[in-house]
Amino acid sequence: MSIIVEHVSKTFGTYRALDDVSLTVNDGELVALLGPSGSGKTTLLRIIAGLEIPDEVESSAIYFHGEDVARRQVGERQVGFVFQHYALFKHLSVFENIAFGLRVRPRHLRPTKQQIHDKVTELLRLIQLEGLGRRYPSQLSGGQRQRVALARALAIEPKVLLLDEPFGALDAKVRQGLRNWLRRLHEELHVTSILVTHDQEEALEVADRVVVMNQAKIEQVGTPAEVFHHPASEFVIDFLGNVNVFHGRIEQGKAVLSGLAVGDRAARSASKNAAASETRQGHLYVRPHELEIERYLNGSPAIPALVSRINPAGAFAKIALTTNEGGDIQVDLPLERYEQLGLQTGETVFVSAKKARVFTPDYVI
């Protein structure tokens, strides 16, 4: 079941939560809406669910499998919605929570008692909580509760599964486990799913495609690899993991940034739209693992910096450096390279970039 959202806006009073957003989700896909709080991702999800009504705009529409559902109530859309804080029915047992969606169906559509029992038992097995059907939500851990919430949403055999920060309230370890489990579950069921998260790691790990949102708009849509390696904007590169920012200018198709002249390729792509002779303000973005540290200048452009802190615990040695101008640089060195260099805090080294992205603001200083 594909989902198409066209030109949807939403304002709360004077606050614009969504600004003319369009999005297509393919049948059977798992898409993550990623963004900081206030970016409009939850509002978009709730509009797709029918829990929120979009602003009346001529061209705005929401299609489920080609059918316009914009005027339909949440109950008629056949969506499974999973809330951040579970929203379980506290006075009902786990079994009754899962069975709820089946029991409230109109009489002629309602399954028999035996069918409901079989269905719920099957779902309890799916969420690995067999034998806990008679427990109450208050007797379960957070991770178990969220699995019950998921089973409850799946019981109505939804055409679309919508998850609003489903693991946001759980601790890191449980979150990792549920993340993998959700991915496996999606491969098993292939329900079109949309997951809202502010955790870039979660989005990149679980989703087929990632939708990066910022300030009521979509910044970029792409596979996890695309958005990570080819970010379309400064916001995307900044939001998806740690990054070093160097300020400078671009002269004649070459970037000169804090003394760190960068490879022609990156600079060329940045100045593609500008006349080659123009001098423009520019920002150079380099991820920590894309920087290299050398003890001596070897001819390639590099900037001197002072090693201020070393943290070798992890897959990479994390080196914090300070430039002469007082700027901070973060470098992730492979451990063997770090050992080979034998770095000490307090020494001066040279930092060069293996790879970089240049973004120029649209205005000329």
């Binding site: 029918g50 499974g80 929203a87 379980l88 029915f89 006075h91 709820f100 919430a149």
Partner: protein, 280 residues
């Protein structure tokens, strides 16, 4: 034991606060009640039995408990609606309406009794329309029920309001997304969630009605065997300096009220905690 409790408690003062609680409850509640029991115990059992089984007294008991139960039940339904609209909707005059709810508490009961009588008597604002329909709204058991409903309303509304405010909007959205219509969401989700508060409100309104005197005696008309309430019977005995008989009637009231309130509490416990019991 004390040592253990002291160790587990973060806040100091367990000993002194519990001691104060016991002392206070003894002075204010237990000792007067004990005096009541002692007083009635001083009379021979035969006379005690005769007093409390007097047809007039029995009729008063029936009316008091019956009208109190009906009044509390009416309040449970309509108090729920009042609390619901005060919590759920934002409309002009909401604050004013909200403070109106407390009026039955603030008014001296005799004043509300006179006001109610003026409205519901044969020539009153409402009575003049009700009497031609054959509804005796004053000087009748119905009048007593009206008065007892009036005084119990704030208790139900004020107990339900916090419970309704705590309702999680997401839970209702979850029910809606699962295909439940509003009616199903209300009956299957909202009512069971606030049921403990509703029962508490009902019990409080009922208890308040049992002891009510001032607002009832005017509108009831105090016709023997018909519209006399138990409190009135006690006052009448006291007027005749018949303290022993008055306490006898009071003791029966006390025991019956205690039994009913206790069973309501047990029911409430069963509704709240029983879930866990059944699950274990």
């Amino acid at each position: 034991m004390r040592f253990a409790l002291k160790q587990h408690s973060v806040l100091p003062g367990f000993g002194i606060t519990l001691g104060y609680t016991l002392l206070y409850l003894s002075l204010i509640v237990l000792i007067p009640l004990a005096a009541l029991m002692a007083r009635s115990a001083s009379m021979p059992i035969g006379q005690f039995w005769d007093t409390v089984t007097d047809p007039r007294v029995l009729a008063a008991y029936r009316l008091t408990f019956g009208a109190s139960l009906i009044g509390a039940a009416i309040n449970a339904v309509f108090g729920f609606i009042v609390a619901w609209s005060l919590v759920r909707y934002r409309f002009p005059g909401r604050k004013l309406l909200d403070s109106l709810v407390d009026l039955p508490f603030a008014l001296p009961t005799a004043v509300s009794g006179i006001a109610l009588t003026a409205i519901f008597a044969k020539t009153g604002w409402l009575g003049q329309y009700l009497y031609p329909l054959g509804i005796e709204s004053a000087f009748s058991p119905l009048g007593v029920t009206i008065a007892l409903t009036f005084i119990g309303l704030p208790l139900v509304v004020r107990t339900l309001q916090p419970a309704l405010e705590e309702l999680d909007a997401e839970v209702e959205e979850a029910a809606a997304s699962l295909g439940a219509n509003r009616w199903q969401t209300f009956w299957r989700i909202i009512v069971p969630t606030v049921l403990p508060a509703l029962i508490t409100g009902f019990a409080l309104a009922f208890a308040r009605a049992l002891g009510e005197y001032g607002s009832v005696v005017f509108i009831s008309g105090n016709k023997p065997l018909q519209t006399e309430i138990a409190s009135l019977m006690i006052i009448m005995k006291l007027d005749q300096y018949d303290y022993a008989e008055a306490t006898a009637i009071a003791v029966v009231m006390l025991l019956a009220s205690f039994a009913i309130l206790l069973s309501i509490n047990v029911f409430q416990w069963w509704v709240g905690q029983g879930r866990l019991q059944r699950a274990a």
